[in-house]
Amino acid sequence: MTALGKLLRTTAFQLTLVYLVVFALFAAFLLGYFAFNTRRLINEQIVGIVDAELQLLQVQYNQAGVRRLVGIVDVRSRRPGSSLYLVTTPTGEGLAGNVGSLEPGILESEGWVETAYRRLEEPESAEHNALVRVSRLPGGIRILVGRDLDERERMFHIVTLAGRWSVAIVIVLGVIGGVFVSRRVLKRVDAMTGTAQTIMAGDLSGRLSVIGSGDEFDRLALNLNGMLERIESLMRGLKEVTDNIAHDLKTPLTRLRNRCEAALRAANTETNYRRVLEETIEESDGLIRTFDALLMIARAESGEVREGMAEFDVADVARDVSELYEPLAEDKGLTLEVQAKQHAAVKGNRELVSQALANLVDNAIKYAAPAAKEPSGAVNGERCGILVKADAEQDRVVLTVSDRGPGIPQGDRSRVLDRFVRLEQSRSLPGSGLGLSLVSAVARLHGGELKLEDNAPGLRACISLPRVAMPPQQAA
């Protein structure tokens, strides 16, 4: 597209054009109305003067006869000006006046008429227009009084000329203004388009420039920048997940592959094959679990599940999850105590919050169990207990899982929330390194957070979520 074509296609220019057309039509109408009225006014004036003169002449004729009339008309005819007079006999011979010729038939009928005429002393070619009134006097004498219309035409001409010029000037100025405004708009839009193109080309860090005038372009740029910010952070998250998946799923996949290869090479009995196949299935199940956990985290982080959120009681969740894990804890020589008496409503996804709490309890059992088996830990039953608590505070609901296991050193507490992070001392225990990442993602999805604290000794994990005030009828 040429620069001009681009300019002509801008909304600003097209809007200017529309305004211009409307404005020009309006101006033309106004000037037309003005011209028409001027003309009417002049006509009225002529009619008034002619009527007065004719009346005067009639009176003179009635009082003093034709001779007096001819005398007055003769005198008046010689005065300079635009007045026209003609007095004729009933047969049409001129008695007095300054009119040389008229259109034929004018004198035959009485009344007002517009006609072309020539003055007595003028050459053949000079024709003018006049508004005349013909009247028949008693005795058959005809009299014509009129006025030249040149003055009126000149006036009308001047007004229409002025009108045309002003419309032309309006159009020229309008087009220039339109081009000026459109170019300014186009410049900003072009700048935005340019930035957008670099972003599309792959540079997600580009941002639209904001002038600071607070106009609609600034507002648009600010909003688009906000959108880009969000897209960039989502993309970063996605890239991180992909990198992690690539890195951490490759290890078990390689193990899987190597085991099958080794079996093909070395296993010779059916028992051996069977054993390898069983191990392979086990390993694949682990992979699937890891994959599910990753997808779940990704879904929680993208906020995709936000639509299906409903209100539920966190105390219920605490009781249910504890009930699910209590036999397992007991099996491992631990006690599991629940403190969830108070009703604590949260708006969210019950399934996800349950899973998050289950992960914390699962972890607590997993890490506290070995400590419970040590003679020093088993001395006091209370020391080995796991406590699951749901507390309703002013505007928060806090789910706490405390254990008496080894805990997590201060420096590692934020790191363990990352995906696939497993601390040195826990590598021997089963796990994917995704449990706490999921808990943290679920907490953030609900507008809350996961905090890991020192339980001296042990670990205290708190999920705090925004509380919802329950309607009175459900509070009971």
Partner: protein, 226 residues
């Protein structure tokens, strides 16, 4: 049992057909939604296994049209979309069960057998009985032989579900879904511990064990004498 597998992935379908035949069932295969719908309308199947994403006609649409024509053959939906809301959508469309991919065959088999049995309408009974074990759903009483067994509410529901499907394999996931209403997979196998507790209550001290572990699949309550 006659099964119809509506699945566009040829390998997966072949594997399923073969696996079902091996355990003694008859399985037909339809490769797209329209063919599947036509076959299912002809009737004669005990359970439909429907993939969610199908060419020509989507899996949920197939089930929707069957239900609109009052064909009530139980349908199990297979889907790579495993999240809770997808499951809800599938069940709302008229599916009877939902299994996310990847699944194990034993899990699928257990669910299909439960679905097929649902036809018989055993779920409406007020009393379940396996050998000398009796469970009364109204009074919540469990008796083995002459002895009354006291169970926690959750243990009762666990036993109730197992006895409702007596003689059938019930997987851990099925128990989590139906007894606890959880659709996630706990990292540790908590179900095993609940089962062993239940077992110690109903089988301990009796010569004939009723609650069996099915290796690689799940659990089953069955009268061993039969």
């Amino acid at each position: 049992m006659r099964l119809l597998i509506i699945e566009d992935d040829r390998d997966a379908a072949d594997y399923l057909v073969k696996a079902f035949r091996e355990v003694g069932h008859v399985a037909d295969h339809a490769a797209d939604g329209e063919e599947g719908l036509a076959l299912a309308l002809d009737g004669g199947y005990d359970v439909l296994i429907v993939d969610r994403m199908l060419p020509k006609l989507d899996g949920l649409a197939v089930i929707g049209r069957l239900r609109a024509k009052h064909v009530t053959t139980p349908a199990l939906i297979l889907s790579a979309l495993g999240a809770v809301d997808d499951r809800v959508r599938g069940l709302r469309a008229g599916g009877d069960d939902y299994l996310p991919k990847p699944y194990s065959f034993s899990e699928l088999l257990a669910r299909v057998e439960v679905l097929a049995r649902r036809l018989v309408g055993r779920g409406e009974e007020t009393q379940y009985r396996v050998a000398d074990l009796e469970l009364d759903r109204l009074s919540h009483r469990v008796v083995r032989g002459k002895e009354e067994i006291l169970l926690q509410p959750r243990e009762f529901r666990l036993l109730e579900y197992l006895m409702k499907h007596a003689g059938q394999v019930v997987t851990r996931t099925m128990l989590l879904e139906n007894v606890w209403d959880y659709h996630f997979d706990p990292q540790t196998n908590v179900i095993d511990v609940h089962i062993s507790r239940l077992r110690s209550k109903i089988d301990k001290g009796f010569a004939q064990p009723l609650l069996h572990t099915v290796r690689g699949a799940g659990y089953m309550i069955r009268d061993g004498a039969r």
